[in-house]
Amino acid sequence: MIAELINPYYLQVASFMLINIILGISVYITLSTGQLSLANAGFMGIGAYTSALLTIHFELPIVVGIIAGALVAAICGILIGIPTLRLQGVYLAIVTLGFGEVIRVVFVNWETLTNGSVGISGIPHIGREILSTLQGFGFNPSMLGLQNNQFIFLSIFTLLLLVTIFIIWFFRRQHSSRVGRAFAAIKLDEKAAESMGINITYYKVLAFAQGALVAGFAGAMYAHILAYISPADFAYHRAVEILIFVVFGGSEVIWGPVFGAFFLTLMPEVLRFISEYRYMIYGLIIIIMMAVRPQGLIDVNMLNWFKRKRVKGGHKHGAGNQKGM
């Protein structure tokens, strides 16, 4: 029954959707201190290459590789975050965009390590790894009535779903806390925030590092799902694509990039005929959104409206006062 419904292709699309959601969140985190980073495609690449090379050359377990990839990306995030502290708005965007390109050029030219523009193939596949581990314990997908292929993609999807839920949970909690208030204060008025005793250097670098960590993690997952990466995967196009998720969905609340990535990954799959014109449509979306709804589709007011509606319907009291996140 279930077995017929599980289509590896759909699961693959769903998995990439989740990776895109994670990437969208990575931009949202940095942006929640008012810093627009276009370097997240670069951080994604750093995570992907680090994890791929460690697992291939040192035969480390994939988990170790992914964690190392995310951490190396975070360290690069700190290194780029500190010198760019003084930059704001479009200047920061230009510098981070440049950084992303530098990363790509390093991947292309450091051929002895990265295999140049040919890319790295034969990266351990996370789904197959999970399957072979479980088979070591005497498990067989046919016990669930699944084929090996189905099980592999199902396990990847489940893993990513759990991680995505964890990331959303983590940053929602962070948002409604002392740290989240400091982020928001810096975004709204940096000088006033500093005068109120907030160490803006620390929190801005923290946000940058967190964004890089999450993007690096997404990159490492990407490498182990596709089993093949090349510098082109982390180029300018990717940076813009991630940005679109946030611009379209909204950057005020975490649900913005989640919805943006969900919708914009799904759209080309459902409407196959437009997938060739994807970047044209992305460009149009940016222009229209900037003119009509610069804060993105989902914003605080919209969430509050939903909440009030729910409160009215359920005859609950008190919850309507709380500001949405």
Partner: protein
Amino acid sequence: MVLEIKKVCKNFGGLSALTDVTFSINQGEIFGLIGPNGAGKTTMFNLITSMFIPTSGEILFNNENINGLKSHVITEKGICRTFQNIRLFPQMTAAENVMVGEHCRSNAGVLRSVFRTKSQRQEETKIRETAEELLEFVGLSDYSEVVSENLAYGQQRRLEIARALASRPELLLLDEPAAGMNETETSDLFDLIKKIQSKDITVLLIEHDMPLVMKLCDRIAVLNFGKKIAEGTPEEIQNHPDVIEAYLGKEEDELYA
């Protein structure tokens, strides 16, 4: 002596905004800093809170030199300010604005915030309670969930004071708190600043509303073109010839005498 300003100069390129300004503020007093527009009053605030670094001279807070410290460190040490052009966090509620003010008196980091440890939850409850208390103190307890940009102008000014008080300052710097207020609001502000003084907080006040300054301040320093021209009690200042000249200009026959 809470604050001592010793021979402070500040140059912006060739322009000297402050020249050899010296004054000191005693524990528990309300000290007024007045002067015509462009005299360097706000520059003095920016130097005390380290938004600018003085070109020369020393600023001592509780006998400790605070020149060149970061602004947030100064707030931690116990100096907090309000701004001449209101700088609240516009999209936050009144309560959230005050809660941000408590930042340096709390210490939950990322992990404690996310995993909601017991100490973090207690701290968060306390932050909330203190915020409500401070809002009540400045008379805004009915507006705690109102987004601050929707508050009336006078309310925003009082909210800014509440936010500054949240950092538990020893010395509070108020930059033209009565600007744009009507008479009733100004007299409420008078009561509020007196109440702040009674909480053992020293106040340094920049203000153009002379009746308010004269009624409120224990001592006053007058700046003109970046120089201190007078210092003393309100009576002394009111009768000081240089101050009258700075505000009203010279009599014509005096000029040619």
